[in-house]
Amino acid sequence: MPELTLENLRKEYGGHVAAANISLTVADGEFVSLLGPSGCGKTTVLRMVAGLIAPTSGRILVDGRDITRVPTHQRQIGLVFQSYALFPHMTVFDNVAFGLRRQGVRGAELQQRVQQALASVRLPDHARRYPRQLSGGQQQRVALARSIAPQPQLLLFDEPLSNLDAALRDEMQFELKRLQRELGITTLFVTHDQTEAMSLSDRVCVLAEGVVQQYDRPEIIYDRPATAFVARFIGRSNRLDARLEARDGAQCHLRLAQGARLVSHHAAAGVAPGESVAVVVRQEDVLLLSQAGEHTHRARILLRSFVGSRVQYALQLDGGPELIAEVAASADQAQLQPGDGVHVGFRPERVYVHADASGRAPAAVPMQARP
């Protein structure tokens, strides 16, 4: 199974840069997600890998072989679309057999391999149906079977689950993961859904405005976001404006605009005392305490909202900004009511400080080392 390498891949449309010099490596058999908001360039990158869009510059390598100028139909890839893109005039069997027939597979072997592909997506009895006779989820399974049947070098997904309803999406996520593990195909998966990216991928590449923000394992992306953009985009977080008062290596003391103080262990490089910074704290990292302690702040509960397994609170810090805190519905703090007073604390190792107070994606970011 091959390794996919992108070298300074760039795509411009007129003056607009859709993908700015993207470099990344997807290891043999690895499942990598391209994650980002719409317009971040993730689909552009995927389509360049598929050969459906020609890059402005840069190279695409599979196992060291340059395929940048190889036409799509010679790339040995499988691509699963958000729209399924099944052939409506063919039966499920003929859809799945399409790629195999191009490879010259005929007769009993064709029958057997189509059946095998359909069985692996758990639709063994649907070969003679037409796509329009199937549900959305079933159509996407057929599309998946069609793309894996010819045993491609690379499997590409373009938001394949976005058209499915929530319950089906969860089910398909597990199916996808199981199938990818079984087949061990090197996979690039485009999505705007962070949960999807986190749960499926070996590594996640977060993109914003055509630039790689961070490329690492999901745990690291979540726990140690490299940029303010990643910190804001991944998880549900609070973003506060603050000023850096003093720093000692990565540890620094901050003062929020309204006077409250807090400590962070994750200051970005290049932030000097006296500068305005953006502080990012995840909702679940806002601690609600019954007693005051060092670096705690008095706050008042404004709103309580119950969201199944969790409870969310909107808080007003005394002399400070509003925050959102999230606790498990089973926790003691889940019974607080609007109007109650509470002490708020932040774990320094869960407070992220970034230079750009605007919180926008920076132009370039050092890449994380491969795990």
Binding site: T72, Q74, H89
Partner: protein, 282 residues
């Protein structure tokens, strides 16, 4: 239920008009086609099947019916062969060029049929532009017959019915999603394979609609065959015209009209089945 009632209500004015003005007169012709005809006298009042049996047995009629069908199928095939690439181009170019091409396609329809037929006569006649040029250049010695025969009718009628075909094909080609093309490409299909296996069958509904329209229009056309075919090279439509207005044999004309209608319906039904199966519609 109420929406269905409303639908019938909204359709009924047009339905009544169509029934009274178009269907009723046609149905009145059914008894006429079974009347005995006596030359110079008109109908005798006796019932007979002869009007139909003579169409089936008389070689003269059979030849004209065959010629009409060949003409209809030929015009349809030519319109499809010329129209499909044009329609395909129109879906691939930018909006400005598409508008220009659409206007070009529609433009001939703004001219009167007779004018267009005369245009072709000026080109195709024994001493028309083409023959004169070819003879001036010494490529031929005597004029080549291009009118009053099948080729002349094919050329003239393809020109007239091409816009109908193109206008039916453009939306059909447009409705094939780009993703489906791309999917075929990722499955190792080259351009030619994608066209034959995906684009063409997926546009079957448009091909079918355009072909039926052109076929039906061309086998029932009167003016162009009359002008380019003359009085001797007849098709069914001109024959019916002559039976009604020259020989005054209304029963025979009515019977011919019904035979033509039934043949047309049969061809339409057959092509519907065949193309429908190919395009995965049935």
């Amino acid at each position: 239920m109420s929406t269905r009632l409303a639908a019938w209500g909204l359709m009924s004015p047009l339905g009544v008009v169509l029934l009274l003005i178009f269907v009723a007169p046609v149905l009145f012709m059914v008894p006429l086609s079974f009347q005995e005809y006596i030359p110079g006298m008109g109908t005798s009042g006796a019932w007979t099947l002869e009007n139909y049996t003579q169409i089936a047995t008389d070689g003269y009629y059979r030849e004209i019916i065959g010629r009409t069908l060949v003409l209809g199928l030929g015009v349809t095939a030519l319109c499809l062969l010329l129209g499909y690439p044009l329609a395909w181009c129109m879906t691939r170019v930018g909006p400005r060029l598409r508008l220009a091409l659409t206007l070009l396609v529609i433009f001939p329809m703004l001219l009167n049929l007779v004018v267009r037929a005369f245009g072709w006569i000026a080109l195709l006649a024994d001493h028309g532009l083409i023959n004169n040029l070819l003879m001036d250049w010494g490529l031929i010695e005597a004029p080549v017959r291009m009118m009053f025969n099948l080729s002349g009718l094919l050329v003239g009628m393809t020109h007239i019915y091409l816009p109908f075909m193109v206008l039916m094909l453009v939306p059909a080609i447009q409705s094939v999603p780009q993703d489906v093309h791309d999917a075929a490409a990722t499955l190792a299909a080259g351009r030619a394979r994608i066209f034959w296996s995906v684009t063409l069958p997926m546009t079957a509904p448009g091909i079918l609609a355009g072909s039926i329209l052109v076929f039906v229009l061309s086998i029932s056309a009167l003016v162009t065959p009359r002008m380019l075919g003359g009085a001797t090279y007849k098709v069914v439509a001109t024959l019916i015209y002559d039976e009604f207005l020259l020989t005054l044999n209304w029963p025979s004309g009515a019977a011919l009209a019904f035979v033509l209608t039934i043949i047309a319906l049969a061809v339409v039904a057959l092509s519907n089945r065949v193309l429908g199966r190919w395009g995965g519609l049935s």
